[in-house]
Amino acid sequence: MSVNVAVFIPVLVIAAALFIWSCFRRFRLVLLGKPANRFRNIGKRVKSMIYFAFGQRCTVNHGYKFGLNHLVLFWCFMILLIANTEFLLHGLSPNVISFSRLTHGVYYPLAYIFDVLSVLALASVIIAIIRRLVFPPYYIQARSRDAFTILGLIAVLMLAFFSLHGTEIAQGKEIAAKYMPISNAFSHIFSGASAGTLGAYANAFWWLHAVVLLSFLNYLPYSKHMHILTSIPNVFFRSTTKVNTQLPEEFKKGNTFGVGQVNQFSWKDLFDSYSCTECGRCSNMCPATYTGKLLNPRLVIHDIKVNLLKNGPLIAQSKATNMPLIGGGQEGSIADEVLWACTTCGACMEVCPVFIEHVPKIVDMRRNLVEMKAKFPTELLPFFENIEQRSNPWGIVPSDRIKWAADLNVKPFEAGKTEYLFYVGCFGAFDARSRKVTLSIAQILNTAGISWGILGKDELCCGDSLRRLGNEFVFDRMARDNVKIFKDRGVKKVITECPHCYNTLKNDYHQYGIELDVIHHTELLNNLIKSGKLSLNGSKDLGNVVFHDSCYLGRYNNIYEAPRQAVTSVTHRVPTEMERNLEKSFCCGAGGGRMWMEESTGKRIDVERVEQALAKNPSTICVCCPYCLTMFEDGLKDKKADEKVQVLDLAEIVAGALKK
């Protein structure tokens, strides 16, 4: 068929100009964000882009069956992009540009591939539509107009493709007809028509295809399907380190702190908001969403985008904005309560297929509330003051830090004389229940002949909760004080009892110029067992041991195997897994400073997690974190199951099995 080039050229130019203008208007807003260096490690970035974006690793992972559907659509889309580019160029210059001018050896396979992929694409679009209509998952906005518009456009595009090629085959113009099974089938619909009618059909289908294609393109920047443009670069720009290691702030007069207005995010944060596919996986994983809190991580990202689109143009012109980023009440504004509900468990980031970083954004907004407005749940006031004044959450006299060791002959850490510093942490030192864990660790270390010492009353709180709660100013001072002590005392190797101390010392403090060799007790115990330094008789019967992964060990630091192996060494049975385990583990509810806040909305997270554990009929629940220990014991009491089920830290399990 012959396209009317004189008509098509202006259509294409206008469509292209509109598209570029829309993209420009949107992406210009991203540049309002603060700088962030996401260009280092290009090689690693390209590799992860290929693996995760083109390989669709995260889309398919984590048991999301419909991810497979997306994988098919994604690849059809990528390859059909070639066909569609040819289609548009062919429209510009019908006699010069056409795949049909290639040698048959190339053209026939191409024609075949395009034909088959188009039907695959059509099929997956239909599956997607059925899924959204018939079994909509609760964690996405399944029946949104946006989704159906896009799916509809793709379906029509595919049908136009087959109809166009069908008529061309009927016209006898398509030399590759034999290799285009679907278009061939379509051609039978038109077989009886006259040459004139066929010409008119071909013309109509060509224009339908062109208009739908160009509409699709122009609709993209205004829909959630903007991710088609942004998600691949977003994977390229992903954090190459553990994203949860929040960037420090510079405490200089005149600076503002945290994010209270959308342009105070980094450009990458803003780009994230454009890349959200609204797949809802983050919300599906989020313990806060699950237990009925106001927080829904997908909506946090969505609100940032809405706020940027609304306020960005005003900010760009230095005009006053009228919708606050934090405050809530409307789409595009995030309620304070949403921000305080986060446990920083990281489950959302773990599953996000496009590597959106939710936690740093939430913490950045918390920083603004704490540091600029002193607005936070009232329970946090004594917590903040106690930590600042006494360097522990309860405001207990610092000299009591050493009380747990009253009956032991514990040596102070001395560089050169002692190998490890045992950094006990606030829970391990002050909390009556956790002190038993501390004593177990001490016993194990002594049995294994490890050379270790403590800082005693000079030990300070690591500041984990402060940092996650957004009180960066006080965290900054505590980090400096801690790093100074470590440096002054020549500390190199540290054993921690608490995964939060572990993570802070290991991942946060290097921002303050210290690289410590930190080991969590679970890893150390497992190493000691494996190297034969501990002889276990495993006599104590623990019954069915259910294992719970702490967020800050597992997701944050990839420690999954060590505690499981250690339990197995003691009980000679692998521990029982919960449904939500490993990187999908469900938080105990205490992280991110939630330990120090009331939980009054919805179901309590610890109760939910305890129910998940009870579903596995445990006699013992094994944890590796003082927060988890507290939360599980509380949850069990709530379920009146504390008589039947015991919660033990791994150290207690191992200490209980030591040969006497």
Binding site: F251, A374, S399, K403
Partner: protein
Amino acid sequence: MLVVTFVKQVPDTTQVKVDPVTGTLVREGVPFIMNPFDVHALEESLRLKDKYGFRVIVLSMGPPNTEVTLRKALALGADEAILLSDRVFGGADTLATSAVLAEATKKLAQKEEIAIVMCGKQTIDGDTAQVGPGIATRLGYPQLTLVDLIVNVDLQAKKVKVRRRLEGRYEIVESPLPSLISILRRANRPRYPVVPRRLMAQDAPVELWNNKVMGLKEDTIGLKGSATQVRKIFSPERTKGEILGDGANKPEETAKLLIDKLLAKNIICLK
């Protein structure tokens, strides 16, 4: 108009230990804090500032390191800080302390009209609750002690209305400005300092008023101007009661011991 707020820096008494041999307080290494009552007094002043636009000046008499506490007050929102520090002010009892504080208030009154003088009800180290009344008496201001609510300030009529919390009753009192108010801890929930103010407070000027500035007669201030002198500080022998078990390390066992004890004495019963 001014709200003059007096804050005292005190040792964190929960961390003060008594030397078992000499029976005296061991103050070495004990951190200093703003007297907890004064944190509430300052908060009340800052609320008046927010509501009526008063300027808040904080003053403290003490050794040079008291500056830390004054900076904390600046971080919380005070507009100016003055440190009253001189060797000759040292060793003051309530009489001599209130003498210096009253004179300082007079000096401020020369430059700007004072609406309210704000104090804590008492300190956690001296515990006398006499300094506030002392200042008021010397200045001839009405004194509104034991206040847990400032109802309002009428700037036109130059009056303040407060609620005093007394044993078993409240008392609503109205008084002309300027008045002295001493605040109870229940009056408010203190704010938390925002970071920009903390940074500002780090190197904001803290004015030093020594006796060269104050020009007070040495026999009215410090040790010499004090009617009382501390002879000895000791913790009294315990004549009754006992410490049961080890509550910190063995809470369950200790609770059991306590319950047994109470049962044996018929203070509680099982039913």
